[in-house]
Symmetry: D2
Subunit: 300 residues, 4 copies
């Protein structure tokens, strides 16, 4: 049986003025998302600024979010680290704190050595040791390495590796992931700018920053593709494109946080060296949210 | 006055069978290097597998190495992290443990946001807070981002930023760093395959994995360029090229560790997902070391 | 009304032993293709080795092929050159020889100067002067430049620019071409490895080397997408993938010519510096053609 | 004995208002260059817009320029084409018209097939057939392919292949060309922004657009390196850098032609799709020429 299908969002991590974790805001954000059509949440993803958090903060975040996410809605935690041993430790801690699955980003520092063989060994050891199901996570934009279909094909046979998230927009590669993995292996799209194309190619859902802002539209896209309403799905994709670009690679985490602020969530400032977006970009985001009906014109 | 000129090596980190830090081997390696012509050591660099070490290990390593490096030989510690606050904390800990300078790798996870402005703010805050001099560190092969001359030019005016290490082989960029920074700003080369060209362009020295194996040859290169003996310098570069490639990008840390084993240092296994090189590559390294006279043929 | 929808193949150019044009083989190949389900033919495309033909040969080829292609089946001729004036001249000659439309590859030699503005001026002047409709042609794999959606959007308003061929596999860009051009602007896919995804994104057909070998399968793909039979379409794409890769970037024109030989067409040797593929690749192509039922096992 | 050492410029091709070749201007330009310290001229290079010229124009240009270049100063003609047979034909025509050597750009259209083996066969056939010595020509910026050291090493043994021009700025690759070819094989640099570094690495001279504007400075650079005056050479390189960038990749042929106009040569408009640079860039070029003392301030 396929698990973890649906629409997820990799939630942002709010900080206080002094730069430390803003726990109350995190709780209230989660409560708001739980009132939406989102299937579940991903914590400690790229958009959660996991790369800039220390281990104690990571543990605390999983704790807090698990309290706000009911058991029947999946909570996935990012646990990738550069070394296999640190990844295993982080995965075990996330499991202890109640995560339903671990989303494990490829190690990437030693790029020339990150071959398919290295990835297969790394993920196999992590999955062997993990108390919870493992999802592979390929995010070339941020890591500079690519988890290739041949590695995924080999890893998909591991009983504790149940799926993957592919954040890139190479549809041929996504189709290859779908075509070379078993029926019960979940492939989740991670790029909102190519969402509809990834779904046509066979993805079972998506983990999208955009879904934090427009969960209904993302769920609707899933439905339109399921019902083979291609014209409507393509039209919806075109509508979503400007905002999808803004909170994707273009303005990144700072863009997502500014958009969250505009929607009444606690976005706030990212952790340096990331900085808040300019007021001009906030205005652009406001227009994009408005044209999708996500904020009323009176609020703009 | 220019500081930190000369030839340094970014030392490897030896591990025990169980994967933990091998402190005695680290001590004995340092003692051996201190008996060579090396100017000083860099700990917690890319070749030290810093990306795969936790903070406690990092602190311990600086402590141990400082004990073995006399005060009149520079000890530089890698302290780069993804967030500015974690970088500052790591830098302060390295200073407490006795490092003479901090080599601060660019943050790199959020690549599209890592603009020159972001780098200038990051390094300025780190240098403001650091008790010891800061060296910028650009290593695009591993980070996927590039610290551009315009950012370096702006940062070189900071009183606590005294130099940089550039690990790439783009000589025009290196010449730009030299040309656009003050006389007392140290530019160190990080690529052994282009060492002679970087020195012609004005570098004041180098931080090289190769220097752990062939310190005399690296010091000789510095001298040949100083004395304008270009034909000899170019010939030496050609001689060093095969080994330089092997312990550079080609076989990386596993290659360096295998070469150290061959020379009687404690290299050992890298921390997974890195793996030891094959016996075929060990043989190749042995030949390359032999042809440079670094191991006698009887040992091969 | 949309023109030039359907499935086309960019025909190979057969040569005699002495390297000159093999006119009888060209005629017999065309006759064979005219007996298939292909919508029409493209001559002097990348796969026709246009880059290696002189102007006289180009003129002769259009003449010969036009004789073999009835007026109710479209004949499109590649007429791109590096200079605007040479492109206009080639287009006029192709029109004189009876081509129904000109497929005009982007100029690409002076890459840094090939901006959207430069492309808009180039294509506008060509379209102004052309007696026949113009199709834009973007083939980044071979040219190293990319014709961006903003340029296409501007050019699509020209009354004599009726469509385009995009040979790349970036589906988001293809969707952008479809979304930003008028209803009657034809977008043709040029990459067989991503054919189904390009059709989902709204392409009206394709110009494919693969279609020279498997015209029925390509036409069937068009139908499956039209009828929204996504599972069958995705399955067909997976079936076609190995051969699509072989006669695409992997073995290129030499691969296509070897496959044509296997199917009883006159493929022959490409013009040097291209060389025939090895016997090992011929065997592989034979297997791939066989597994698609394009050659019987007795022939293999 | 090494041939073709020294400083050459790849001359621009002037056009009349109607777009045809401006023969009188070409003659007068050549006469002016013959009054400078330039070693010789290259016609039909990238900067000569060879890609946009037809064969008749090419022949005419070699004829005219040969008349203006005395026999004791080398005239090199670009003769590269996409096919081997067309390259041979162009080389024979250039030899007939009096060129002293042929500069043969790599074919590049079918990029995935342009392997070292393909290049070796292409150049061997061309050199076998050529009545004049052949120089290899690697210009990755414009071709998108790279002629690697292993191919050059093999080709350098051919008696009729006497040298090469490398237009890129990868100094390690240039050093490899020098190190792996015989003593009498000439390596010419083609990038003015890295000229000094290429000379340190062992280049015997250069073919530079910059040399059309600043021949004395380029000759002086050659001398400074020969005399091992590295500080002066590096300083001169820094001085030349802004103009070198402008007439290199940045503004390309249009930039070079505008600079020629400013110096009293006949530059004029490039052939479309290339267009003249803006007045703002002309002003910048004027400043750059002025600060090098190439035009007096009264002329600016």
């Amino acid at each position: 049986m396929k698990r973890f299908t649906g629409i997820y969002t990799p939630i942002a991590t709010p900080f206080l003025r002094d730069g430390s974790l803003d726990e109350p805001s995190l709780r209230s954000n989660v409560a708001k998302w739980m009132a939406t059509s989102l299937t579940g949440l991903v914590v400690l993803g790229s958009n959660g600024e996991a790369a800039s958090l220390d281990d104690d903060e990571c543990d605390r975040i999983v704790d807090i979010v698990r309290e706000g996410v009911p058991q029947d809605r999946p909570l996935i935690a990012g646990t990738g680290r550069e070394s296999t041993r640190a990844t295993i430790a982080a995965t075990q801690r996330a499991a202890d704190a109640g995560a339903d699955a671990a989303l494990v980003r490829t190690p990437s520092f030693f790029k020339p050595q990150m071959t398919s063989d290295a990835f297969v060994r790394h993920y196999t050891e992590v999955a062997d040791a993990s108390p919870i199901p493992v999802l592979l996570y390929n995010v070339t934009l941020y890591t500079g390495v690519n988890l290739l279909p041949d590695a995924v094909e080999r890893l998909a046979t591991h009983p504790n590796i149940v799926g993957m998230k592919e954040s890139g927009g190479d549809i041929a590669q996504i189709a290859d992931f779908v075509g070379r993995t078993p029926e019960d292996f979940t492939v989740l799209a991670g790029s909102a700018t190519t969402l509809v194309h990834a779904l046509y190619a066979g993805c079972d859902g998506a983990v999208l920053a955009l879904a934090a802002l427009a969960p209904d539209a993302c769920q609707r896209m899933l439905l339109l593709v399921k019902e083979r309403r291609l014209d409507e799905a393509n039209a919806l994709q075109r509508e979503l494109l400007p905002l999808a670009r803004s909170v994707g690679g273009l303005y990144g985490v700072p863009g997502l946080k500014a958009a969250l602020d505009l929607l009444g969530y606690a976005g706030g400032e990212p952790r340096p060296p990331l900085r808040s977006v300019s007021s001009k970009i906030i205005e652009l985001l406001s227009e994009q949210l408005g044209s999708l009906g996500l904020i009323s014109s009176s609020l703009r």
